[in-house]
C-alpha cells in the first residue's frame, strides 16, 4: 500500500498549473498511490475557510482515498481556534497542515513557525494525537524545538534535502514525535542515511503532487538499500500508525 502524506489540489494563484482533482486522481491512479492526505491550495493563500470547505467536500466524495488536512493562515488569528476545533471534531480531517513562507505572516511578519500563533495551535491539539504537517522551508532547529515543547503532538516535517540532512537527523534523534517526510529529499542514498541515523519508523512517504513528479520519491524508496519491511513502513505503515493513534483519541 502507498499512502501519500503530501497532496494538494485546487486553484493555483501564482501561476498557471493544473491542480484539479481529475489531475490528482489520474496521477495517483497511474502511480498506484492508494490513499493521500490532501489539502486545498487556497489555504496557502489566506482563503482557508473556503479551502477547508473544499477539502472536506473532496474527502466526503472520496472517503476511501483521502483524508483532509485542515489549514489556515495564522495572520487571520480570530478564526484559527475555530478551524483547529473543526479539524479535531470533523472526521474528514486527520491533521493540520502548516504552509511555508508564502502565507506571509508565518515567516515575514511572525518569525516563522517559531511564533505565539504556532504554539497556540500546538497547545490546542496537544493530547489529541492529531498530527501536524509542517511544509519545508523552516529550519529543523525550530521544528525540533516545537517537537520538544509539545512531545504529545506528532509532527511530520517536510523539507529535508542534501543541505540540511544533518539537521533533520539530529532533530529527529532528539524528538521521538518528529517524523521526516521525504518529498524534497534528493540526496543520493538519502533514504539509506535517514534510516540508518533515525530508523525506518520515522520516515514518511510524500510527493507534493500534483506539483512534483511523484515517481522521483517513489523510485528513491524502491531503490533504497533497506529491507522490504522498512519500505512498507515508509510507504504507508508509519503514517497509518500515526492516524490510528489519532482515531483512538477521537
Amino acid at each position: 500500500m502507498i499512502f501519500d502524506s503530501n497532496v494538494l489540489f485546487g486553484f493555483e494563484l501564482q501561476y498557471n498549473k493544473d491542480l484539479s482533482m481529475e489531475k490528482v486522481l489520474e496521477l495517483m491512479e497511474s502511480r498506484n498511490i492508494d490513499k493521500a492526505l490532501i489539502t486545498n491550495i487556497r489555504c496557502r493563500y489566506s482563503d482557508f475557510l473556503r479551502g477547508n470547505d473544499e477539502t472536506a467536500a473532496i474527502v466526503g466524495k472520496y472517503p476511501d482515498k483521502f483524508l483532509g488536512m485542515i489549514s489556515f493562515n495564522m495572520s487571520q488569528f480570530i478564526d484559527i481556534e475555530n478551524e483547529v476545533d473543526r479539524g479535531l471534531k470533523d472526521r474528514k480531517f486527520a491533521g493540520i497542515r502548516i504552509f511555508n513562507t508564502s502565507t506571509g505572516f508565518i515567516s515575514e511578519w511572525g518569525g516563522g513557525i517559531d511564533s505565539y500563533s504556532m504554539r497556540k495551535v500546538l497547545k490546542q491539539v496537544s493530547g489529541t494525537k492529531m498530527p501536524v504537517f509542517i511544509e519545508g522551508g523552516f529550519p529543523f532547529i525550530t521544528v525540533g524545538t516545537l517537537a520538544h515543547e509539545f512531545p504529545e503532538v506528532p509532527i511530520i516535517a517536510s523539507g529535508v534535502g542534501y543541505g540540511n540532512m544533518g539537521e533533520a537527523i539530529l532533530a529527529a534523534q532528539a524528538n521521538e514525535n518528529l517524523f521526516l517526510e521525504i518529498s524534497t529529499l534528493d540526496t543520493m542514498d538519502g533514504i539509506d542515511v535517514l534510516v540508518k541515523y533515525t530508523s525506518a519508523d520515522r520516515i514518511i512517504f510524500g510527493t507534493g503532487l500534483p506539483y512534483n513528479s511523484p515517481s522521483c520519491e517513489m523510485l528513491m524508496v524502491k531503490s533504497a538499500h533497506i529491507s522490504e519491511q522498512d519500505k512498507e513502513k515508509i510507504f504507508s505503515g508509519n503514517l497509518l500508525g500515526i492516524l490510528h493513534e489519532r482515531s483512538e483519541n477521537k
Binding site: 537527523i169 540526496t187 542514498d189 542515511v193 512534483n212 513528479s213 523510485l219 531503490s223
Partner: protein, 260 residues
C-alpha cells in the same frame, strides 16, 4: 542505452556514502546507466590542481563505463592550459567542466575566454554549471552569459541543471545551435513558489525540441531516482526519450568514435 552526462567523483561535504569510482559503477548498475561522464569534485570545490590526475587514476579502471570531464580553474590560466593539453590527449577524457560561480568569475568574462578558445580548438564539449534563482543570485553563470560564450565558439556548450529556471534557459538556447542543457536537478523550477514541478521536461521538449536535452543525474550529490522519476513522469515519444537518455550525448560527445 543510458548515458549520464552529469556525474561527479570524490568527497562531498554532505552525508553521502558514494565517492569513488566503484561506488559510481555500483549505482550505475542499479539504475542501468551504461556510461557516466564524470568530473572531479576536488577540482570544483577544493581548488585542487591535481584533481584530474586523481580522478583519472580512479576512473581508468572502467574505461568503457566512466568517461571524464577535465576540470579547470580560470583563476590559474597557465595551469588550466596545461591541464587541458595534458588530459585531452587521454581518450577517456571527452569534455570539460567549469563552475563559474564557485570560481567567482563570469563565464563570458576575459578569465574564461582562453579556456573556451582552447576547448573549441580541441573540439571538446563544455558542461557549465548554471543555476539561477530570480535576477539576483548566481548571475556569473546564468544562461544568457553562457549564450554569449556559445555564440563566440563552435563546440557544444551544455547548460547544467536546466539552468535552474528551465523556462528562462529554453528561451536562451532555443536558437543557438551549439547550446544544450542537462536535466540534473531539473525538477526544481527555481523561480517558482513550488520549486519541484511535474512536467518540466515535457515543457522543455515543446519549447526547444528533444535534440537539445541531455540526461544527467548529478550523482552522487543527487540520487539518480530524481531524474529517472522525471523521465518516467514525462509524456515523451519513444524517439524523444531515446534522444534524451543517450542519443544526444552519444552524438555530442562522439562516443561512437571513442567508446564503441
Amino acid at each position: 542505452m543510458i548515458i549520464d552526462v552529469h556525474v561527479h567523483c570524490g568527497f562531498m561535504f554532505f552525508p553521502i556514502k558514494a565517492s569513488v569510482s566503484e561506488d559510481l559503477i555500483k549505482a550505475m548498475d542499479e539504475f542501468n546507466i551504461d556510461v557516466g561522464i564524470v568530473s572531479p569534485i576536488e577540482g570544483i570545490f577544493y581548488a585542487s590542481m591535481d584533481c584530474n590526475q586523481k580522478m583519472y587514476d580512479s576512473i581508468k579502471k572502467f574505461p568503457d563505463r566512466l568517461k571524464g570531464y577535465i576540470v579547470v580553474n580560470p583563476n590559474y590560466p597557465m595551469e588550466a592550459m596545461e591541464q587541458l593539453e595534458k588530459f585531452s590527449k587521454i581518450p577517456q577524457f571527452i569534455g570539460v567542466k567549469v563552475h563559474p560561480s564557485w570560481y567567482n568569475r563570469p563565464v563570458d568574462g576575459p578569465e574564461f575566454e582562453p579556456v573556451f578558445n582552447k576547448c573549441e580548438e580541441l573540439d571538446l564539449p563544455v558542461l557549465v554549471h548554471s543555476y539561477v534563482i530570480g535576477d539576483q543570485e548566481d548571475q556569473v553563470s546564468c544562461p544568457e552569459r553562457i549564450a554569449n560564450v556559445a555564440r563566440r565558439h563552435g563546440n557544444p556548450i551544455i547548460v547544467a541543471h536546466m539552468g535552474g529556471n528551465s523556462g528562462r534557459t529554453c528561451k536562451v538556447i532555443k536558437n543557438i545551435d551549439n547550446m544544450y542543457m542537462d536535466i540534473s536537478s531539473g525538477r526544481e523550477r527555481a523561480s517558482q513558489l513550488y520549486v519541484w514541478e511535474l512536467g518540466r521536461i515535457d515543457d522543455a521538449v515543446k519549447e526547444i525540441g528533444a535534440d537539445k536535452i541531455l540526461f544527467g543525474s548529478d550523482m552522487p550529490l543527487l540520487d539518480p531516482s530524481i531524474c529517472f522519476g522525471m523521465m518516467e513522469d514525462s509524456n515523451l515519444s519513444g524517439e524523444d526519450r531515446e534522444k534524451i537518455m543517450w542519443k544526444n550525448a552519444n552524438r555530442i560527445f562522439k562516443l561512437d568514435k571513442k567508446v564503441y
